[in-house]
């Protein structure tokens, strides 16, 4: 059995359930999060000015609540090597906390505006920043668990780089 397992690992056949193999990225650089990022850009640049409505007001929030947990998670994976499960949870937590506070805690909204006002000019953004406070936006947080689920699904599908042959030999040897 040990020999079969090792040969399967080398051939890469049994790596689908490998969230435990700790890929450092892959949850954000994926079709759905990138589509959500594209949606927020299209909405902010074209749809909002053209059709300002409750729908365009919510679209960016919906997109943000989906890709931000995955973005934070991927950064944690790349920069600090945090395990997939933990970093997805932290990404969800950070997104939920920041988004909720920005919507319903006026002092935090002021703080966020101050931060944006300080950071913006360094990124070439010299316009005024505005954040709307609307508790109904909190419904968009339903996308956060969906993002976590998607992130886990993505990471489970990622096959790690094949192990070097020496590793495989050592594993087989160790198994015996």
């Amino acid at each position: 059995m040990a020999g079969e397992s090792s040969s399967a690992r080398v051939s890469g056949r049994h790596h689908r359930s490998s969230i435990g193999t700790r890929p450092r990225s892959g949850e954000f650089f994926a079709p759905l999060p990138l589509a959500a990022l594209a949606l927020i850009v299209v909405n902010d640049v074209w749809l909002k000015p053209a059709f300002h409505s409750a729908l365009t007001g919510k679209l960016s929030d919906i997109a943000l609540c989906f890709f931000m947990p995955l973005f934070v998670s991927e950064l944690l994976g790349i920069l600090f090597g945090v395990s997939p499960r933990a970093r997805l949870a932290v990404g969800a937590l950070i997104t939920t906390a920041l988004y909720t506070a920005q919507e319903i805690v006026p002092p935090f909204t002021r703080f966020a505006l101050a931060v944006l006002g300080a950071v913006g000019p360094h990124l070439g953004i010299h316009r005024a920043f505005r954040l709307t406070s609307d508790w109904t936006d909190l419904f968009c947080l339903a996308l956060v668990p969906a993002a976590v689920w998607y992130g886990r699904w993505r990471l489970e599908r990622i096959r790690p780089e094949p192990a070097p042959a020496t590793d495989g030999c050592r594993t087989v040897a160790d198994a015996h």
Binding site: I40, V45, V105, L116, A128, D134
Partner: protein
């Protein structure tokens, strides 16, 4: 070829992360003309605002700071008269802000020196900033900010007769002790009040 594709993928990955970080900031500063939020007002105009009583828990639920205790005359039952005018519609602002009115003067606030703000966009009908110097307590002074508008930014233009108007005034007092028994702290202190507007109408009382 394989390494080229790998480098291409890494570059795209890095670019996506960088662009995402940028847009998380930029999304709150999208460009567009200011929205037409208000209708039925002359330009220039004077409006009167009759203040109601703030919620008992406003310090924690709405303002995030203790009450200013009416040291500038803003107390429940006070009537303020705003002299307003509206400049050209701003074209390059966050498209969620309103085409607002600039406050030229406010009657009913004591010790206030307004700082001109001729920009014609705000979250509500008008915003005003200035400096406060107490006429009765020496050294009791600081910065002063006010916002007047509906508690929710409407999708359609509204008139003064709509419900749910609020007036929020915040101050940063440089020396709390100089303001008598108004504040319990010392040194620099922030304070604010979130008044529901009982009545708002165009014209003077």
């Amino acid at each position: 070829m394989k390494s080229f594709l790998r480098i291409l993928k890494l570059s795209a990955h890095a670019a996506a992360l960088a662009f995402c970080a940028f847009w998380l900031v930029a999304t709150s500063a999208a460009t567009g003309p200011a929205r037409q939020c208000f209708t039925g007002l002359a330009n220039p105009t004077k409006i009167s605002v009759y203040l109601g009583t703030p919620a008992a828990d406003q310090a924690t639920s709405q303002v995030g700071a203790p009450s200013c205790g009416g040291i500038d005359g803003l107390v429940p039952g006070a009537t303020l008269i705003f002299s307003l005018n509206q400049g050209p519609r701003p074209q390059n602002v966050n498209s969620t802000v309103c085409w607002s009115y600039d406050t030229q003067a406010i009657d009913g606030v004591s010790g206030l020196q307004l700082t001109p703000m001729n920009r014609s966009y705000a979250q509500g009908l008008t915003e005003a900033v200035g400096t406060f110097t107490s006429p009765t307590m020496s050294g009791c002074e600081g910065s002063w900010q006010l916002e007047l508008g509906p508690d929710m930014i409407p999708d359609q233009p509204i008139s003064l007769t709509s419900n749910g108007w609020v007036l929020k005034r915040t101050m940063d007092i440089s020396d709390a002790q100089a303001c008598g028994a108004t504040f319990t702290g010392t040194g620099l202190i922030g304070c604010g009040d979130w008044f529901p507007v009982v009545n708002i109408w165009e014209g003077t009382p």
